[in-house]
């Protein structure tokens, strides 16, 4: 028993650690690792991964919420879209052939690799769209030095919401947090500052993955022998990763993560199309 449990635990520790360092979340590495290395069926890997995403999001978002980086109001509005997508996605995952899910996973990995390479800088608007202003979605960037806080406005709520439905759908279908899609929508379309987008996305991922996990759990598609050690391992790995992150050379690491993403996407795509 111990070799299997130990291997699974080690796998999840590494996935959580790398996921936190890359900012992509552990699921991006745990699903392929379970499918390719541990020969776990795709549905089981997705169900277990969704559970681990809930755990890592809860663990990692605490500091961001406390320090003021998470925009709670934006999160609550956009969660309407992500939860809708996630519930539909998780329901559909039970109806779709595993090879289609593996192919989709490979494509999403390539999208994330592209996003990692083309991340935009800050593009802050002082005033948001009328609806966003009415909902008071704008916020202030925390200033650790005690200086004047910079106000930012939020725009294009409809466009961002539409991408969030897709992000939720992918989360429920593939067992990932869809963080890169969420950050991309907030950063590119809604003009939310990048660090606020990342923190808010991290916070929203818990509810998005939770919606999908509830569908899998209620359907009986969660294997406890995989999900339990995975949840603990990924959470510990992510916590260690987030502690190491401030001391890491993120720019150099990013290139390495992009290469890993592309390689794993090729393997997953090959598996899907060749039937292996």
């Amino acid at each position: 028993m111990l070799p299997i449990l130990g291997a699974l635990f080690a796998l999840s520790l590494v996935a959580g650690f790398v996921g936190a360092l890359s900012g992509l979340g552990g699921a991006f590495f745990i699903v392929p690792a379970l499918v390719i290395l541990a020969h776990v069926p795709m549905y089981v890997a997705i169900g277990a991964s969704l559970i681990s995403v809930v755990a890592t999001s809860a663990g990692a978002s605490v500091a961001f919420v406390r320090d003021g980086w998470t925009n709670l109001h934006i999160a609550m509005v956009l969660e309407c879209a992500t939860v809708t997508g996630a519930v539909i996605g998780a329901f559909m995952a039970g109806l779709i052939a595993p090879w289609v899910l593996e192919l989709l996973f490979a494509l999403i990995m390539l999208q994330s690799a592209y996003f990692e390479l083309t991340k935009k800088g800050e593009d802050i608007l002082p005033k948001g769209s009328p609806i966003a202003e009415r909902l008071e979605l704008g916020g202030e960037l925390p200033s650790p030095g005690g200086g004047v806080a910079l106000h930012y406005g939020v725009t294009n709520l409809a466009g961002g919401g539409a991408i969030m439905v897709v992000a939720g759908l992918m989360s429920g279908l593939l067992g990932i947090g869809s963080g890169s899609l969420k950050v991309m929508a907030m950063d590119y379309l809604m003009h939310v500052p990048l660090k606020v987008s990342s923190a808010t996305s991290n916070f929203m991922i818990g509810v998005t993955a939770g919606a999908g996990a509830l569908v899998f759990l209620a359907r009986g598609d969660v294997s406890t022998v995989v999900a339990a050690p995975l949840a603990i391992g990924v959470t510990i790995g992510a916590l260690v990763g987030s502690r190491v992150l401030p001391y890491a050379d993120v720019k150099r690491l990013r290139i390495g993560f992009v290469i890993i993403l592309v390689l794993v996407a090729i393997v997953m795509g090959w598996r899907a199309l060749s039937g292996n």
Partner: protein, 129 residues
Amino acid sequence: MKAQDEDRILRVWTPIILRTVLAAAGIVLIWGLVAISLTPGEYVMHFRAMQHNARVKDYLTFAQLVMRAWHGNPRAIMTVGLMILTLVPLARVAFCLLFFIKTRNKAFVAFTAYVLAGLVAGVLLGRIG
């Protein structure tokens, strides 16, 4: 109440809720893993069975689950732990809903109620299919 004041209160309570439920789930999951480690052969048997089945269908009614966990069944204990873990987002959204009802922020009552309804719909959809 202004959004900034709401934020200040939510920023205090949200981490407390997240940490408390996460810690409770972690304790139950570790308890389940220790229990299954003490039952020779059970972990490997279930792991191998899972590898050979495309769908797990690890399904019990809630009453069956609680009874089995009560009697020390390791997999039932772990399932309870996983259920507590999925309560993390539910608890957080439910708290926000109650908070916005108290502050009479109608728009955000609607948003959080929708999210909560979506999470409940997830359970119902899972039961169907």
